[in-house]
């Protein structure tokens, strides 16, 4: 069982129109090699599922993106990104950040969605089913399953076990769970047994492809 793949080979599983989750919060835990390689593939109509839109300007301006599902597309300063999104006719779907994370986990956990009080009485409740549980109303937000997840880890092994550092965990864990195919880039690829069973942030069962550090990518490419 060896999940190590060259980056181009791993990205072959992404087809036009797919829903692609991308981990990271700001630059922390962002799979930069995978996204920059994805930009070169010329895919179309991708639905990007990521907390923030700021790092997808390349994909957006090249017309690769039809929709972005996120919680915080960009801060106030990103005027070029804002214009790019409008120009490219990209649809934006916003979810509160906790709902966004939990909907990913829900999909990966075989559950039917998330019942939350967050958004009750606001625009986030529009079009949502309200479910009353023991006298309290909750919004029902359906699970957010994705075709492919692109995530980042500090360390990986060939079975796809991942270990992360600092605030780089963020959405990477729930996205690995939610995806039909999870591609993880890692700063370091270790031998089996070098990731402690007590320090494994994402068990290999949730990971399908492991892409090594940038320096080793070219020679490994298939």
């Amino acid at each position: 069982m060896d999940k190590r793949e060259g980056i181009s080979y791993a990205l072959h599983s992404i087809d036009d129109g797919m829903k692609v989750a991308v981990g990271g919060f700001g630059g922390a835990g962002f799979p930069e090699s995978l996204v920059s390689a994805l930009e070169k593939t010329g895919k179309k109509d991708l639905v990007i599922v990521s907390n923030n839109a700021a790092r997808f300007e390349g994909l957006i301006t090249s017309g690769a993106v039809s929709k972005i599902i996120c919680s915080f597309p960009f801060g106030g300063a990103s005027s070029t990104l804002r214009a790019a999104i409008v120009d490219a006719g990209v649809e934006l779907q916003l979810l509160p950040q906790g709902t966004f994370a939990e909907c990913l986990r829900s999909a990966g956990s075989g559950l039917g969605g998330v019942l939350t009080r967050v958004g009750i009485g606001t625009a986030f409740a529009e079009g949502r089913q309200i479910i009353n549980v023991n006298g309290t109303d909750f919004l029902l937000e359906p699970p957010l399953a994705v075709d492919v997840a692109l995530i980042h880890a500090e360390q990986a092994d060939r079975w796809g076990n991942l270990s992360m550092r600092g605030t780089a965990r963020n959405f990477n864990v729930a996205m690995a769970m939610a995806a039909a195919k999870t591609i993880a880039e890692a700063n370091e690829v270790l031998e089996i047994g070098q990731i402690s069973p007590d320090r494994c942030d994402v068990p290999g069962i949730f990971v399908d492809s492991v892409v090594g550090p940038r320096s080793t990518l070219e020679s490994e490419d298939l």
């Binding site: 919060f25 835990g29 996120c70 915080f72 906790g98 709902t99 600092g166 605030t167």
Partner: protein, 213 residues
């Protein structure tokens, strides 16, 4: 004389009890940690997956994998922990966070808060604001009392899109500290040389005259 931003942050810091876990939003709230007395153990949570974050010291080198929710470089104190986003929001929504300190565009008499965008058509992001405002045990708002054009941000009903309803417990503004009980608002303190009448003029809903100082 109205309180400056630093003074607002200092007033908030003075009111946070030892042992509380606090989530802080952008703006004035980010100034609060530096005013916590060093002997008081207050833990700051950031929704991107850290409990026990501290400012990066002058000698600290920024680590790209160590940022706060405002994407600024931070460090972690001994006894802190890292976790993924769904657990982070379990903490927030589940009522495990003692206090959230956020900024606001508008606050209503019933404690509704609007703090993520001014216009239905504007492209903006909610981030973790709705989760924090809905989920924490106590929600304190740090804000200027009025807009640049002099309109009150404390009004009968918010005009901007809401973040959460009926959640604001206290407002720390440049003019006063106000506390809400249902639709009743009390003044806890006013800024130096600011009197109750001035606070009332600057506020779009009634304030009780009872227990102001």
């Amino acid at each position: 004389m109205a309180w400056a931003r630093d003074e607002i942050a200092g007033r908030i810091a003075a009111d946070i009890p030892d042992g509380w876990v606090v989530n802080i939003g952008v703006g004035i709230p980010t100034l609060v940690p530096e005013f916590i007395p060093s002997e008081r153990e207050v833990l700051f949570q950031s929704e991107n997956g850290i409990l026990g974050m501290v400012a990066l010291g002058p000698d600290g080198s920024p680590d790209p994998e160590m940022i706060d929710a405002g994407k600024r470089p931070i460090a972690i104190r001994p006894g802190g922990s890292f976790f993924e986003s769904s657990l982070s929001f379990s903490m927030i929504r589940g009522g495990h966070i003692d206090l959230g300190i956020v900024g606001a565009l508008q606050i209503s008499r019933a404690g509704d808060i609007a703090n993520w965008r001014t216009d239905e058509k504007m492209i903006g992001g909610i981030g973790g604001a709705a989760d924090v405002c809905s989920g924490v045990r106590n929600l304190w708002v740090a804000m200027l009392h009025t807009t640049d054009t002099g309109e009150s941000k404390l009004m009968m009903e918010c005009g901007y899109p809401l973040t959460a309803i009926g959640v604001v417990d206290r407002v720390y503004s440049d003019l006063a500290i106000l506390e809400r009980d249902g639709v009743t608002w009390h003044v806890i303190a006013t800024a130096p040389d600011v009197d109750l009448a001035e606070v009332r003029r600057a506020t779009g809903f009634p304030i009780e005259s009872g227990d102001e100082q």
